[in-house]
Point group: C2
Chain length 237, copies 2
Amino acid sequence: MQLFYYPNLSLGAFSFNEEESKHCIKVLRNKTGDTLQLIDGKGRLAQAIITKDHPKKCEGEITQVTLFEPNRSYQLALSIAPTKQHERIDWLVEKACEIGIDEINFIACENSERERINIDRLQKICISAIKQSKQYYLPALGELKPLRDHLKTASDWQKYIAWCETNPTEHLAQQLNQSEKKIHLLIGPEGDFSAKEISLSQEAGYHPISLGSNILRTETAAITAVATVAAVLSKSL
Amino acid sequence: MQLFYYPNLSLGAFSFNEEESKHCIKVLRNKTGDTLQLIDGKGRLAQAIITKDHPKKCEGEITQVTLFEPNRSYQLALSIAPTKQHERIDWLVEKACEIGIDEINFIACENSERERINIDRLQKICISAIKQSKQYYLPALGELKPLRDHLKTASDWQKYIAWCETNPTEHLAQQLNQSEKKIHLLIGPEGDFSAKEISLSQEAGYHPISLGSNILRTETAAITAVATVAAVLSKSL
C-alpha cells in the first residue's frame, strides 16, 4: 500500500498540494477509486480513497484513522553542527530517522564548517525515511542556532557530549543505563569543539562519552551514537 | 603529519606511483626534505623523508617502522549485496571502515539489485577512511560471488543473519555476548533474501537477528549492525 504524508489528518475530505498530487497521480499513476494510506507524522495512519485524480489537485476521502503509540521505549534528541558537504548531513538525517530519533537540532560552533542549513530539504528526507521504514512519527528538526543558546534551552534530559579527544572516557554503551528514557546527544563539529565550548557544555550537564578508539567523522560519530542508544536500550523492550 | 598508503613498507628507499606522487607533491605541495608518515594497512606505521619531490615519481627514505596491534578486541566480517545506487554502498564501506571492520564481502542474491561492484573504487574509499580515522589495518574487500558459494566457504565464526521480516527475533545486542571474538554479519539485499536463501543460511549456521522494529534499508541495517557490535563489545575493552 502506498504511503503519503499529510500533516493535518482527520476523517472526511482531503486534497493534496500540487507536488503530492503530481507524485500520486502522474508518477504513481493512481486513479479515482484507488485506495491510499496517509500518515501525519504524529502517530496517525489513515485509510483513504481517491475521489478526483487531478494531477495538480488530487482529492479524496479519509475513511479511517488509527493512532499508534511511539514504537520506542525512549526519546532521543541529537544536536550537531552542519558539515561542509551537505550530503553528509543528508545521509545522517536519513539514517538517524530510519534507526529512530525524535529531534535533530543544528548548532553553530566556533569551528563549524558551514553556517546555513536547508531545513525544508532535510524535512523531505525525514518524511521519505519514515515512510521507507514504516514509522508514524516524524522527527522534529531544529533551525541552526549558536551552541550557547542551545545549551541555555537544553532540557532536563540525560545529556552526553562527544568530541575527538574524548578518550579514555567510557564508551556511551557503558554509560547508558536501561532506565534512561530521554537522551540528548551533542556531537562535535568537523573542526571539533573548542575548549571553551566543551567546558560550557559540561557546566550545562553534558557528560563526556567515548564512541570507541577510532577518530570518527562528525556524521559517523552521530550515527554510531544513535545506533548505540538503539542497541543498548532495545534490550529493555 | 600527513599519512600515505604504501602497501609494501620496509626500511630504506621507497617511491610513490604516479597518482600518489601527484597527490603528495602537486596537491599537498610537499618538498624534498619534508617528513611523511606511511601506513601499509597491515599494522605498520613508518616515518619517512622525501629525497626527490618529483610530481610523477616522488622518492624518499623510510627511517623507522612501528608495528601496531589491532585496536579492537574482536574481528568483524560483513557480507552484503551491492545496492542499486552505488553511493549507498560507498558510504556504508566508508562508515564501516571508520567504526571498525576486518572484512566486507559482496554477495549476489536472487533479489539483488545490482550484479557488479567496483572493488578498486571501494578500496580507495577504505584507504581514505582508515587514514581519516587513524587506523593501521585496511579491511579486506571480497569480490562479488553468489550467496551459495559464500555460505560454502563461510568459516567457524559466530554468524548472524538479518532480513526484513526477522521480527520478533531478539535484537543483535541481546544475542551478542562479551566472549565473542569473531563475528560474521549477513545482511539481506534491497529485495530481501528469498525463503530458500534464508533457509540455506540458517543451515550454514547463521542465527537470525533483529535490528529493531523499524524497516531499515540494507545499508542502514548493515551500519546499525556494525555499530551495535562495536557498542556491545566495547564494554569488554
